[in-house]
Amino acid sequence: MERITLSNIDEIKKKNTKDRTNNIKVGMSTCGIAAGADEIYNLLTDEIKKRNLNVSILKCGCYGMCYAEPLVEVDVQGLPRVIYGNVDKETAIKIVDKHATGERLINDHIIKIIERD
């Protein structure tokens, strides 16, 4: 990475600011990993690749809802941004099949609805 100085930091910020829609995030702090987030992350990555979807997948920190780990946040164009809790393999595949494709949200697993700014 290039050296960051007082004068170029804003430019670097701009360069790295990306559109945050069309991504799936998996909470991968100790709490998430302990609940099996690793497996879900790998599964989601594979399934998205298989279907050739225009969705990026990201590891992120803990969202705080430890009672419902593993947590998967899905933000795709045209659908509300939500977090799924207690995601097992079956739910993960449903998420890729229905939600990541922009079709619809999955019943019975959403634990948080994030309002867009």
């Binding site: 930091i9 992120c60 705080g64």
Partner: protein, 576 residues
């Protein structure tokens, strides 16, 4: 434009949730109205509202409809269809500042942090012109130490800055040892650069060239992510010489704690970094005068540093907008115990315990009545249910005899015994006492003996006064915070729940059924269906009888493990 959506959930904790029934009425209605492609109906696990019947949350115009019945369905669908209001506004009590990036950015990417205002705070601090200006900004924010005691951060920095020395140090205390608390771990794992940015600003302000992150070895992932972030910061010229092109050098290094609770105390922590045995030493001199290797040093908690980077990124005025008069900003709590939604929550200072427990935590498991909330870990006290409407800030908690601590919050219900709780926390502190000073080493041990006596039914009434005396002496005479605060759980439980102590002593009774020597297990013949499952579960063959005659428990053999109670589907076994 996002698809119009109605989220529904039955928020009453009944055995027959109405979610599906209402879901079907919504589906039927939108099918009739031919709106299937315009509006989606989604059943959720949680809508952020509790005990308000079936709740419908609409989107993208976010409104909450409570106690929804079939009759409300058309009106709600119409409201969503026309993007009209109706209902009540949704209110999220959480304000995410320290956790602003946790769960949002990739913690292993400095680029992602920079894209979200990362290191703008450092830029601002370096551009202010002088360290004094940085202190002014920090003072204006009103930030107080998040490690527990609530000492004004700017003053701590100023005291360290004002001393002339050839070398100064900055230390980040990441030795989070309270049982049930993990706020710092989440920040270090989810947003490591925010902590580092705060430390660099601190180093610049006091004129330090070196800093240490003291992290407990039990947090391997936090250590890995912090190390990764340090490497990235070095590569980007944010650490090392000429930071951001300014004539300022600052280095950071990780030091691992080996699992001693007392090393969270600042003088013991310093000893541990120096490579000595982690025992505290008397203050003064304070670390700001003679700290690490006898050089001026300031120590702040992980959360404090994360707040510092927020303050410089967004401005002191923005930070001070929320909170109470004397406690500004937010506090992260680790909500655990008998709570439905355990986890981390960040709320403005001044939020009441009731809001935290019921509106964020979703209430007590199985809807049992709440009895008390314990804050501050083993150094804190127990707050009884009468004070549940107390706004949480440093002063109010101190008044109640407890402390903010680093932010552990444990919810207790009627199945918790206060003597048992006091014994647990005191036991923890006795285990972790370093043994250097007598009040903590001996006082703690004697208090524990007395509590064991109460819990075993061998105590006398006078023991409560003895406990009070020893508590007082330990508080006053101990060398460091561990001993001074170790009696807090005992003092507060005696203060607020004395009748429960007396019950243990005089009636030999533990109402929660936790003190094993005071309870006996009994099978109620009326409820017993004579299935015999309990016999198979009992590990010591204490249950005898046949399917014809019914069963009984031999109390002299029973070890009170509770397995029979769990196994009995008819709730025929009780503790008395």
């Amino acid at each position: 434009m996002d698809r119009k959506t109605i989220f529904i959930k039955d928020t009453n904790n009944t055995n027959t949730p109405q979610t599906l029934a209402i879901y079907n009425s919504f589906m039927n209605y939108i099918r009739e109205q031919n709106l299937l492609n315009d509006i989606q109906i989604v059943r959720t696990e949680d809508v952020g509202v509790y005990a308000k019947g079936v709740v419908a949350k609409t989107y993208p115009v976010v409104k909450i409809f409570e106690n929804v019945t079939e009759n409300d369905v058309p009106a709600i669908v119409e409201a969503v269809k026309n993007a009209a209001g109706g209902g009540v506004p949704s209110r999220d009590k959480q304000v995410r500042r320290v956790l602003r990036n946790c769960g949002y950015i990739d913690p292993e990417s400095i680029e992602d942090y920079i894209a979200n205002d990362g290191y703008q705070g450092l830029k601002k601090a370096l551009s202010l012109g002088s360290p004094d200006k940085v202190l002014e900004e920090l003072k204006a924010s009103g930030l107080r130490g998040r490690g527990g005691a609530g000492f004004p951060t700017w003053l701590k920095w100023k005291l360290t800055k004002d001393i002339v020395a050839d070398q100064k140090y900055v230390i980040c205390n990441g030795d989070e040892g309270d049982p049930g608390a993990y706020m710092n771990r989440s920040v270090m794992e989810g947003d490591p650069h925010a902590v580092i940015e705060g430390m660099i600003i601190g180093g610049y302000t006091i004129g330090a060239t070196k800093g240490f992150l003291y992290i407990r070895a039990e947090y391997p992932l936090a250590i890995e992510r912090i190390q990764n972030a340090l490497n990235q910061a070095y590569a980007a010229g944010l650490l090392g010489a000429n930071i951001m092109g300014v004539n300022f050098t600052f280095d950071l290094e990780i030091r691992l704690g080996a699992g001693a609770f007392v090393c969270g105390e600042e003088t013991a922590l310093i000893a541990s970094i120096e490579g000595r045995r982690g025992t505290p030493s008397p203050r003064p001199p304070y670390p700001s005068v003679k700290g690490l290797w006898e050089k001026p040093t300031f120590i702040n908690n992980v959360e404090t540093f994360a707040n510092v980077s927020y303050i410089f990124q967004k401005g002191a005025a923005e930070f001070a907008k929320i909170g109470t008069e004397k406690s500004k900003g937010t506090k992260v709590f680790a909500l655990t115990g008998k709570i439905k939604n355990s986890g981390l929550t960040e709320v403005p200072m001044g939020t009441t315990l009731r809001e935290i427990v019921y509106d964020i935590g979703g209430g007590v498991i199985d809807d049992r009545p709440i009895r008390a909330v314990q804050t501050g870990g083993p150094s804190g006290g127990v707050i009884p249910v009468e004070y549940l409407d107390t706004p949480v800030d440093y002063e109010n908690l101190t008044k109640l005899g407890t402390i903010m601590g680093s932010g552990g919050m444990i919810v207790m219900d009627t199945s918790d015994c206060m003597v048992d709780i006091a014994q647990f926390y005191l036991g923890f502190c006795v285990d972790e006492s370093c043994g250097k000073c007598a009040p903590c080493r001996i006082g703690g041990f004697q208090m524990l003996k007395l509590l064991e006596g109460i819990s075993n039914g061998t105590a006398v009434k006078e023991d409560i006064n003895r406990l009070r005396d020893i508590c007082h002496a330990t508080q006053k005479a101990s060398l460091c915070g561990l001993g001074q605060t170790a009696p807090n759980p005992v003092i507060t439980t005696i203060k607020y729940f004395e009748e429960e102590y007396l019950e243990h002593i005089e009636n030999r009774r533990c109402r929660a059924g936790k003190c094993k020597n005071l309870v006996i297990y009994k099978i109620m013949p009326d409820q017993c269906k004579k299935c015999g499952i309990c016999v198979r579960q009992c590990p010591v063959d204490a249950i005898s009888g046949t399917r014809e005659t019914g069963y009984s428990i031999n109390t002299s053999k029973c070890i009170k493990c509770g397995q029979c109670i769990e196994a009995c589907k008819f709730k025929a076994i009780i503790k008395e």
